[in-house]
Symmetry: D2
Amino acid sequence: MLRFESDYMEGCHPAILRRLQEINLDKNVGYGLDPYCESARSKICQACGTPDAQVHFLVGGTQTNMLVIDAMLRYNDGIIALETGHINVHESGAVEACGHKVMPVKGRDGKYDIDALEQWLKAFYEETTAVGIEHYVMPRALYLSHPTELGTLYTRRELMRLRELCDQYGLYLYLDGARLGYGLMAQGGDLTLPDIARYCDVFYIGGTKVGALMGEAVVVTNPNIELTRGLIKHRGAMLAKGWLLGVQFDTLFTGDLYLKISRNAVDQAMRLRRGMELKGYKAYIDSPTNQQFFVMSNNKMEELAQKAAFDYITPAGDGHSVVRFATSWATTSEQVDALLSLL
Amino acid sequence: MLRFESDYMEGCHPAILRRLQEINLDKNVGYGLDPYCESARSKICQACGTPDAQVHFLVGGTQTNMLVIDAMLRYNDGIIALETGHINVHESGAVEACGHKVMPVKGRDGKYDIDALEQWLKAFYEETTAVGIEHYVMPRALYLSHPTELGTLYTRRELMRLRELCDQYGLYLYLDGARLGYGLMAQGGDLTLPDIARYCDVFYIGGTKVGALMGEAVVVTNPNIELTRGLIKHRGAMLAKGWLLGVQFDTLFTGDLYLKISRNAVDQAMRLRRGMELKGYKAYIDSPTNQQFFVMSNNKMEELAQKAAFDYITPAGDGHSVVRFATSWATTSEQVDALLSLL
Amino acid sequence: MLRFESDYMEGCHPAILRRLQEINLDKNVGYGLDPYCESARSKICQACGTPDAQVHFLVGGTQTNMLVIDAMLRYNDGIIALETGHINVHESGAVEACGHKVMPVKGRDGKYDIDALEQWLKAFYEETTAVGIEHYVMPRALYLSHPTELGTLYTRRELMRLRELCDQYGLYLYLDGARLGYGLMAQGGDLTLPDIARYCDVFYIGGTKVGALMGEAVVVTNPNIELTRGLIKHRGAMLAKGWLLGVQFDTLFTGDLYLKISRNAVDQAMRLRRGMELKGYKAYIDSPTNQQFFVMSNNKMEELAQKAAFDYITPAGDGHSVVRFATSWATTSEQVDALLSLL
Amino acid sequence: MLRFESDYMEGCHPAILRRLQEINLDKNVGYGLDPYCESARSKICQACGTPDAQVHFLVGGTQTNMLVIDAMLRYNDGIIALETGHINVHESGAVEACGHKVMPVKGRDGKYDIDALEQWLKAFYEETTAVGIEHYVMPRALYLSHPTELGTLYTRRELMRLRELCDQYGLYLYLDGARLGYGLMAQGGDLTLPDIARYCDVFYIGGTKVGALMGEAVVVTNPNIELTRGLIKHRGAMLAKGWLLGVQFDTLFTGDLYLKISRNAVDQAMRLRRGMELKGYKAYIDSPTNQQFFVMSNNKMEELAQKAAFDYITPAGDGHSVVRFATSWATTSEQVDALLSLL
């Protein structure tokens, strides 16, 4: 079975496993206070161009979203997300479990329609100010994914506009980078890590989907966001052997490994896309990253499913469906070729 | 200033105040264990035709919604509401403060479009079952208001269909009756208190907006919903002098007072509507209850605002707006006539 | 049956009921934005000598404690209370329901042993700083009741020392004044309302037990504590007809009514105490306020229970028990005389 | 520097790392639905003699305690723990973050004094039933650690008595087995894994401290406890690459590896203890497990601290302190000998 159903099906990059092997019987202090975490933090700050940022290593994406959002919001604060945003639909209410409301707005191609968002904010503040804001969940942060759930990317100009909107309405800007590497290495993407660090108040660099066994690195550039160690422990999210995360990110941020292996996923995705377009399949959306969405006849889909695993997304009408193939840092040319040979 | 901006601007029906006066210096046990609460519970059960229902008296509507929903939901359960539902937009995230997600769906005229809801549920279960329900907030209850936020009513047949849908998908059906009396006495409404008790798992009979100083009577007909006294206290919602609520509901449910005074609000609303239609104003929606919505030119609106208070709702285009006038159990013919004379 | 089992068994002072009667059919804006609340806030600020304090009116004591504490604490913050503190044992976990830990310490006579508390704080900070404070709930506030659960009082000097300790350890000082009037009017008590406002960051003036139908007035003197209207609504605690609370506190803070009626409770308690001591009963604790605790033989207790209601507190050994009699603003000399005649 | 300050300073048993290496580039389904988790569950059920138990793999101990307790409690339920219990003092209020109160009681040698506990329960129910249980946090579960925080063990007879108490008072019995292996292999311990599974409603088998990189295996034997996958996700605790936990526990429960490596820690601890006793040090408590507590002069302590790391616990008076040395599955004879040579 060829497996393309997600980008977190393998373990980790071999260089990480080697280092874990090397230090396996060394004794380390716990809870992220070890030298590996220290070194990884320093390298990440350097890569982001933000020497004073706080960096925390957490185990998974939902946990990270939950904690960052809990650190940003209070009282009747809420966070704006797309209706299709990961925190709104795929995290089992983890944000609400911390007492906060996700405020869904409509988007396009997995991204905010910034003009529409601006109108929505304007109307929301007019209404709530008139009635009395105490009756409303008031937005205090804006959540976006980059790359998005549909593999698309924000441009530098778009992120700047979102930053301006956030400044205007007193919102924190939070970028979920579960697949950040695949966005940074996409052709045509113009957002760099320092750009993201400059425009966002907080974001995370995904490890689970980009080369690590597990782990996400949260970068807090706005010191008003107190993502404290106490809060992390309070939500059961502090890893005892924190150096396991430190070693992984230290490896990924040594010699551009994070970007190099991200590049592979993008390259393989582009090969897959070109191959499929040659065979006459139509892309459902123009994704320059590791997730590729195609329209496929239901017959073909069922036939393919005998030999390859992929994600069913949604009906496309007329006996067709949208399906998703995800590549990863570990995807090989052979795997993509084998998939293409089935199509 | 003539005031029609809401239906909870007066104190309480004089009969209630008389009884509070009579017993003011009597000594009563606290926390709702007094004979007045006992008597009121019994009268409410009788009026609902549900001798075994549990009845709790709470102070306000948001508190009541929060507690009922907290009692119904657990883990990653959510509650479905209209996008315009009170719990979704006007309660400052009180449901989320208890850790639960409100799941908004689109409606029409303040009501569920039941066919659309059925499709939504079907699609939701198909998707989530395929992916793994643990990643989703799963609906466990359905919230509706009757009368709705737009003054409209569900029919008996509609409530039966919602009940069937709830049975099919394992949902509790919860009816927010903040203005229930005004629905029960509306012309053309065919839902009775026993109907509501039969089709819903839990609902509340509003007092704050219908004759009481404060107070809502929650009626739990499904014994699986454990709205315990401990939970009420746990959320800071147990009134020390619980008899204050008992006396009020006991008075309202003696000799049909609740229905009689509700009738007045509806009658005055109908007089207002006929008067306005005679003057050429167009109803924005066909509401048979105490809230009346009209389209009015912005000029007229500003002029009227000098002498009367009412609610601005939304722009209606072309220099017009939608405005709301609310009558109550205490509204007099003189007040309505005075308002009409300004129009 | 003579009833002395608690101090919240009657309705409200007749002057309050008169005013509620007078304005019953007036129309008021909701949610505490009415002129009665405004006037009451102003009178309370004046009585406290704190023109800039924020004053909120809430319905009950547990709700008030829950909200004030939720406003003070964040992340892994906790609040110190006596083991016997109301929030620790009698509020059904309402503080924990908001995600915060109550940190119990031992006291004496219902009060903090300030030397012991100082030692406890010192030891706690030494241990937690050594291990890493992120593993601990860290105290951020100190809770005390005045009068205490045992009717005792803090002196001005004691409150000053607690203030100093709080300053030293970065704690908010919060005083629960459910029975505050009875403490202010106690003989020998030297703490005034302005003292309390000066030394505490936040406190509340109890209405439910001191003359009101219901209601507590929270006074926030430290502007860093953001007890916002949004938070109040978020926890389901905002009363729709907020003026009901405003009118009550406005009445109580007009012409010293609050203090005058508190005085009555204390006077009757003192009469009761003297009477009982003359009959040979021994006070269990030296309470100068409206709660009086005595040691009584179990035989006498059972006999008395036929004709009078009171609270059983705890065994006293040797066939005796500790019992409590509570007077209130409404207790009459006749009631006390009748009780004494049974003893 | 010789390091004996905790038992989670190394990575994992080499056999685990080998297997992670072998399967590193295989593709697995996520979220614990992989064959490794399946196999590990089956082996654990067999080792526990409970074929129908539910087994969940979680990442860490605080997370596990938080989730198990959240699954057991509702409304105003609480969980009883020792004052020194891990959930009460070392988990940063993670239980309270889920809305539940930890109810501390006094113990002895890190264990419940079962007679005292019985008295406490009896008195608690008498008081609360008299006053009204809705005002109290009511215990619904009992938490214990085995081995305890002081390295001591419960006997089979003691666990049976706790089970009886729990049955009598309607409590779930929950055993925190963060160091369970070290208890199972202790000399003189008579509790087996099947015993624990029989007497407890839920418990966990610690991996983080016993041979794994990270991970705890929760075993739920009482089907009334719904520790659902949805709840795990709702609290941000579902590991994307769940097979990482499955592989580890599958390895540990193949060929008794878990017990064998636990045995090493106990053996080294006993060697350390005998060696120290020969040198005249006195054990602070009689611990048969991997944590050894000794009384040491402060001078010696400071001298030793130059060359060895260990835990300071508490003052012992007279210029002495209590210190702790922890061995682990990875501790070697050479390390213990080197430590002894410094003493």
